[in-house]
Symmetry: C2
Subunit: 321 residues, 2 copies
């Protein structure tokens, strides 16, 4: 297998993005279409195939000359069989043999995995996790998810749910989580909780935050909360420190359990890195077992909004070694 070009496909809730990726993980061309246009499996396969053909043409090759096509899907996947069990937020997908359908259409090798696993695989091969042997990836946003690469392999677990960091309980008397339990990491550091704390702050304390909310039409976003911290708002800074505190408690448990050499943190909330990371790192240093706390470096993800495409490309490399 000498082909150096791959296409990575990021199946998102609003758009599907495909990218032509070279052997160093650089995205050299992209194509995208709306998820609505491809909400059903057959349409997805057809639209994706056309995007892959167009991207391959830009590399001067036929799809069959690509190393392969990787697809990251937002839901549980059987990687060995290339099967999508179901998708979050996209009805009509039940046990779809997606890899085979794409292979038939494109005459090149196709692979599917869960999108959060692929973020981990992408950061490991091409991003901030490069060279790590025991890597934990965490993605922070509306959902809090994760992926584990241990002994040089992605740990998908027995049923593809490995790395579900978001539903680790960090405080049995803590906030109620969307999953019904109390005190999950996601309930403490997910976007919903950050905004809930932020709205309370705007109501009670921060006139500055209220003013910037008014300027953006009354809507609060994590970005506004970062800006408030940037402008010296003490309440906003404290809010991000609380997020760092909760993250640190969760990560210390993971550090104790897995003794990783690196942790990579991405997702939209990671944009507030400057405001939560110092507290988070301090809590890990204080709370994890010394030998494990000393072994780990906690860094910010590097692939940003290309993580989905690059991760899907990394899957191709992983499966065609």
């Amino acid at each position: 297998m000498s082909a150096r070009w791959t296409v990575g496909v990021d199946f998102g809730g609003t758009s599907v993005k495909a990218g032509l990726v070279d052997a160093s993980g650089r995205v050299v061309a992209t194509a995208s279409f709306s998820t609505d246009e491809a909400a059903r499996p057959a349409a997805f396969v057809e639209r994706t195939s056309r995007a892959v053909e167009s991207l391959a043409r830009q590399a001067g090759v036929r799809p069959g000359q690509l190393r392969g096509v990787g697809i990251g899907a937002p839901g549980p996947v059987d990687v060995e069989r290339g099967l999508v069990y179901s998708l979050m937020n996209v009805p009509g997908w039940r046990n779809v043999a997606l890899a085979r359908a794409c292979e038939r259409c494109l005459a090149c090798r196709c692979f599917v995995d869960n999108d959060v696993n692929l973020m981990a695989l992408g950061e490991w091969r091409f991003g901030a996790g490069r060279g790590a042997e025991q890597l934990v990836c965490l993605t922070l946003g509306t959902g809090v998810g994760g992926g584990l690469i241990l002994n040089g392999a992605l740990c998908r677990g027995a049923s593809g749910a490995g790395g579900e960091l978001g539903h680790m309980v960090i405080d049995p008397r803590g906030s109620r989580c969307g999953c019904g339990r109390r005190g999950c990491l996601e309930a403490h550091v997910g976007t919903a909780e950050i905004l809930r704390k932020g709205r309370r702050l705007a109501r009670r304390a921060s006139t500055q935050l209220r003013a910037s909310m008014r300027r953006s039409g009354g809507r609060l976003t994590p970005q506004l909360l970062s800006q408030a911290a940037q402008h010296g708002d003490a309440g906003a800074r404290r809010l991000w420190q609380e997020i760092g505190q909760a993250l640190g408690i969760g990560l210390a448990n993971v550090v104790n359990l897995l003794n990783p050499d690196r942790m990579v943190i991405g997702g939209g909330i990671a944009n507030a890195w400057r405001w939560f990371a110092p507290t988070m790192r301090q809590v890990v240093r204080d709370e994890a077992i010394d030998i494990s706390a000393r072994s780990v470096r906690i860094v910010r993800a590097r692939l940003g909004n290309r993580a989905g495409i690059v991760g899907a490309a990394a899957l191709v490399w992983d499966r065609t070694r």
Copy 2:
């Protein structure tokens, strides 16, 4: 490599036990000596070598004809270099190249690993973990430790501290742990905490327990607490249910994080299995993510007090594949 015999050595705090182990993990002969006799590295190597020679003779082979000798040491180990960094409870061991020293003495291949890792490896190859692909082992006693086998390999972590289940925080406002933190699993289910709860029970409620303590010279043991539960003592039964509850919360986090297909629980406290396991399993069912809770079987370790010897033998098989 066709040799089928191994010798496993279990370096304990009070005695060193060596066993001749066949290819199915059966211990067919044993030898042991007091740890005091071998507190220093040179004496340990000498005494161990003599024991190995005597066991090999019983199999009708020279040590050089063994598949190898495995040694489980109670402390951090560099497996690749066969180096013991230090030992719990045995002073005078600092960066000892134990594998090489034994190899020189015995003219056969020798391997060293941490004893808790070896319990996991032994249960995986020869015990209750056989056939599992994603295995979590937990050992319950004065210390609470663990070992992880993921994707078919022991996860030692970046510095050999992988699988440290005992210091996962299950309740940040919980009991104080020997490590200085609050709410570690070990602080909730370790022998010290079980006995503390048991003594309180004997003082306040259980005349039956007081009577059986008097019969055993005033000493309380986990075994007496199991017997009390067996005899219908409601307080003792509740005590074990509380242990099961705390274990379940800890294991649910591990199930969410790693999505294992099996968990094996051993160590002295596992003798009270009947009294804590139903609650523990129920809590895992209730608290873990459904897909992961359904994938996992939680079973009792099978190797009992042979775990150390058989685990050390499993290490030889693992390193000579």
